[in-house]
Amino acid sequence: MALPRNKYQELLLAPTRKFSRREIGILLILSAIALWGLFVYIHQFINGLGITGMNRPVYWGVYIVNFVFFIGLAHSGTFISAILRLVGAEWRVPLARAAEAITIFSLPFGAGSILIDMGRLDRVLNTIIYGRFMSPILWDITAVTLYLFSSVVFFYLSLLPDIAILRDTLPDDAPAWRRRLYRSLALGWQHSAEKYRRLEKILGAMAIFMTMLVVTVHTVVSFIFGMTLQPGWHTTILGPFFLVGAIFSGSAATIMIMAVLRWKFHLEEVLSFKFFNYMRKLLIALALSWSYFMGVEHLTVIYGNTSEEMSVIIAKFFGEFSATFWVMAFFCFFIPLVILLTKAKRSIGWLVTASVIINIGMWLERFIVIVPSETYPRLGYDLGHGLYFPTPAEISITLACFAGMALLYMLFTKVFPIIPVWETAQEIPGLHGYHGFEEDEAEEEHAEAPEQIPGYGDALEAGHA
């Protein structure tokens, strides 16, 4: 049986063939940071959450910020691979796995952040033994577990033919563990047209389910805050606002990863600027949506002008959180929008700069949603001093989470092809192949040609053809 014919096959599989010395060095550094975080966590587990900066009334700090942020990062994967699959955006194909891998490796740190934040991790099973389904935490456990499980299945299914390709093309001098790994993970996949057709069907059907799930999960994450009566949290806009923010930061993270992959694995031919440009346009749309929600939320609250809501707003706009708030506003919206509309049109470097700024901004946004509301609770008396600063312990654990995520991601790219080989193949026996790479050149030619506005009739004819 013939393998799918992909002219870039060797290029895409090259990173999985061996570890370079520099890569091993990076892996060691990441492991060291992750282990340091683990050490700090053990210290926290033994001594108590007192080693954090959390207090009364700021009972939740950066661990919960990380929880929302990591779950948010995860959303881009499903957005790009499921939602864009449903709307038939072919350009997603080479990016889908890189984005989905963010989902897979970010979710455990999101869920893990909740565990890190718990006072008594040793009693975590109580949530199952004595679970109270009226609590949004139980909703979260259900939603995130389902999301993680479904994403892994979705991810694995689309990886399956590529594992088989790895198995079939393994050089003779490859280490035995790779041979064993690929053989067992490929589950005996044969490259027959029928199998590919079935796989496409299943992935299409799962995409519908994943789309609903991605909307639900981040809405449920927002319910942890929205279901309480706290000023600034108790609003119906929180669900969609969290969702848009999640896809926003996740898409920015996808661009960052794409750029690193292109640079490190020499994928200039495959990850051409065209794909970055699609993501750039997506980011512009998301930045505008994000600012729309931001504007609507604040205008409604300020116009209503109730005293308990205003104490939060004033703290954010002019008070002790104003520096964080305005940096967030500029990082999430104004600065990236200017870059995206100008410099990033032609430069991946600028696009990555905008993406990094967006992600710093989105982390701060999660902080700004969570901490000021806690600092100014409804009953206007002095609960404590309530000024919250993360301690070195919290910062260490946060950095360790990011290092851990990068570590898993990097290991993955060294074992499996991060750009799908079968999905980007020009020819799969019995199936139409992917021609997104060629269209690239066609489009460039088109751009130079005098402007033509294709009529809708052309599209219809094309459809009939």
Partner: protein, 233 residues
């Protein structure tokens, strides 16, 4: 049904904090260092504080308003709904106190965030006492010191209810509402606190709760607190 409630007459309260101290000795709430206290990590099931502290009002005005605040023991408590392990619950069999199962709490602090009154306290470290104070801990097992990493709160001194019921049984007589009184009520120097059955229309607390001076904290939220305040003046 009995529904235990408390009335606090703010006209009589002199903000002496005797309630806070009595509560501490009765319920073995841990002492924290001044630095921890500065972070707002003191554990005071009953707390006395000036109102409107975010404004400078209290500082300027010598007639500062003080509020003394135990758990409000809501009939519709926002803290209970959010607990993922049913560690916090309203004990209807014992008269509607909002209680905490210390051995079950996982320390997620959702209840502390959800409570609009800020009456729930988290054990950031394992509790510690210096030996002098440790000798005076209440030996009652029901109030034995709580572990690190969990939430604790005012119980209306539920252990005193259990003791009072037991005593009535030993003495072979019917339990009366007046047998049970939390430590803060018993100790109140200005006799500003009253305690009793809100479901008994003739009880003193019921009568006071009907007073035109009566109000409840954040009444508009619909939490239906069983702590009723009487306005000053």
């Amino acid at each position: 049904m009995t529904r235990w409630g408390m009335v606090i007459d703010l006209d009589k309260c002199v903000a002496c904090q005797a309630c806070t101290v009595a509560c501490r000795m009765e319920n073995n709430t841990p002492v924290v260092s001044p630095e921890e206290s500065e972070l707002g990590r003191s554990i005071l099931w009953n707390e006395v504080f000036p109102l409107e502290s975010h404004a400078e009002l209290a500082a300027e005005d010598t007639g500062a308003d003080f509020l003394t605040r135990p758990c409000q023991h809501c009939d519709n408590p926002p803290c209970i709904k959010v607990c993922p392990v049913q560690a916090t619950y309203k004990s209807d069999e014992t008269g509607g106190q909002v209680l905490q199962r210390y051995e079950r709490c996982i320390g997620c602090r959702f209840c502390t965030v959800a409570c609009p009154y800020g009456v729930r306290y988290f054990n950031w470290y394992a509790p510690e006492w210096n030996p002098e104070i440790a000798r005076h801990l209440n030996p009652d097992e029901e109030v034995s010191p709580r572990a690190r990493g969990i939430v604790e709160k005012c119980t209306f001194c539920i252990q005193r209810l259990h003791k009072a019921e037991q005593l009535a049984e030993e003495e072979g007589r019917e339990f009366r509402a007046s047998d049970y009184q939390p430590a803060c009520v018993q100790t109140c120097t200005g006799k500003a606190r009253f305690f009793g059955d809100l479901d008994d229309p003739d009880s003193l607390v019921s009568q006071l709760a009907r007073s035109r001076r009566a109000f409840r904290l954040l009444e508009e939220l619909g939490t239906r607190p069983k702590v009723i305040y009487l306005k000053e003046g």
